[in-house]
Amino acid sequence: MSDAITLTLMTAPTQTLVADCIAADRFAALSAQAIAALPVVHGARPATLGDFFRVRGERASVVRIEGDCARIEAIGSGMAGGELVIDGSVGRDLGVAMSGGRIDLRGNAGANAGGAPAGAARGMTGGEIIVRGSVGDEAGARMRRGLLVVTGDGGRGTGKGMIAGTVVVCGKAGSGTGRFLKRGSIVALGEVERPATFRYACTYRPPHVALLLRYLGARCRLDVASAQVTGRYERYSGDLAELGKGELLRWVGE
């Protein structure tokens, strides 16, 4: 048993690599050989994780991935616990259908981070995804529970159709952010375009945002300005075309 498992990208995939086998909780019971033997799909062909990554360590629920994984999809798919730290960018479907644990991405993520598998009604149902970069379209789409934090910009349709949970976007949130939101919170610290079906409620200091941002600063070492922690936010209720119990909180200053 090791303190952590490190996957180092040795052979860059020439096509899209679907590596939905990479999940911290799944690795907790596996030897290094068993991890290397896990199946992946390269292009449309079956392969193993060991064909691309060197595996160091075994039987640990803390997993570190080194290398540029921009062509690798579905990392952390269905993850239920443990911690996954990724040094570099990843492709689409990061943490899709995740239910627990934490993914800490030091790079950009493709579309549908924390979202739902194709055809599924629910996206992530628990856990935390911290993206220290930007995300593609529909990050957090149909999220049921959990936390997605994006320090950079959000793509189009961020938090689209969220059922509950929290999405924080520190940079610019893309168009259609929060559209079809049922419940849940989208906290926009930067520029955000309000969907027409959201209605302004008030400007106030939401106590849970202060708590959340302090938590992110302390636990995840995110650089959050104190003006954002204690600041005022415009609250927009929505999506009124849906259940309307969600909110878009837009930071407006101290």
Partner: protein
């Protein structure tokens, strides 16, 4: 044993096992947090009449609270498991929820016994309430006229200690009061301890039951009442003309001991004759705090 010429009687304080919760109340300013805490802990001096005992443990700096605002730590004790959530739900709902700018957090996160205080109070939101899970803890957001009230879903409960005490036997009322004030000042802010009575001081210590009224569970401690020295089996020396008691509740025995040590040392002032303690012969309470051992 004597401290500053004050005799320390060879006896012990007898205390009881109670159930304790710690609440962290924060506010926009320390003043508002204190307002809520003072109301929350009002009429909570003794389980005899109030069904609970509560007090402010200490003030919290903004870097000691979950939401980064100034706050107050409150200890809340009852005699049994069932009545602690009952008391908390009623009191938090009427005092902290109503107080501007406040939020309410659990101060015993490691305690396995959880009291669903926030979960019960959430229904005040009439269906408009919402929950948030932050760092593995669930919080409830209740929409209120001011904005939002935030409360943690559950609060920890531990076995605590109630009824630690010592008595100050003084030559006159002024000396007794000055001694009690000095003791309270020395104990205020010590971790894990509250002094539930007004200003931390009790002037009307009680005995169990009544000599005359069958339905009373507690009546005046006539053995320590100076005006009754001539007509009762008094335990007061001739020179003693006033007695005040300090009662302590806490999260654990060592915290009570540490506070008693600080308080008794501070109480040994001019005009004080003896420091003693209240007990029931060791038959009722499992916690015995021997004065000389504590001070030794």
């Amino acid at each position: 044993m004597k401290i500053n010429g004050v005799a320390i009687e060879d006896t012990f304080a007898e205390a009881f096992t109670m159930r304790v919760a710690r609440l962290l109340i924060t506010g926009r300013t320390l003043g508002w947090a204190r307002e809520a805490a003072v109301k929350l802990t009002g009429f909570a001096t003794s389980v005899i009449g109030c069904k609970c005992e509560a007090g402010i443990e200490r003030e919290l700096r903004d870097d000691e609270t979950p939401d980064g605002r100034p706050g107050v730590s409150v200890l809340f004790l009852t005699m049994d498991k069932a009545s602690l959530p009952e008391q908390l739900i009623v009191r938090v709902g009427q005092t902290v929820l109503t107080c501007p700018t406040t939020a309410c957090f659990d101060g015993l996160p490691e305690a396995p016994d959880r009291l669903p205080v926030g979960r019960a109070l959430r229904v005040f939101g009439d269906g408009f309430q919402a929950s948030k899970v932050i760092g593995g803890k669930r919080y409830w957001r209740l929409p209120v006229m001011e904005g939002e009230f935030l409360i943690e879903e559950t609060f920890g409960m531990l076995k605590g200690v109630g009824g630690g005490n010592f008595l100050i036997l003084a030559a006159d009322a002024d000396a007794a009061l000055a001694s009690a004030e000095a003791a309270v000042a020395a104990m205020t802010g010590l971790p894990g301890v509250i002094l539930p009575f007004p200003g931390g001081v009790v002037r009307s210590g009680s005995k169990v039951g009544s000599q005359r009224y069958k339905n009373l569970i507690a009546t005046t401690n006539d053995a320590f009442a100076p005006t009754l020295k001539a007509v009762t089996q008094s335990q007061l020396p001739e020179v003693v003309n006033s007695v005040l008691e300090i009662v302590l509740d806490g999260t654990d025995g060592p915290s009570i001991e540490a506070a008693m040590r600080a308080g008794i040392r501070a109480a040994c002032r001019p005009g004080v004759q003896t420091i003693t303690a209240g007990n029931y012969g060791g038959r009722l309470g499992p916690h015995h705090f021997y004065l000389r051992k504590i001070l030794g």
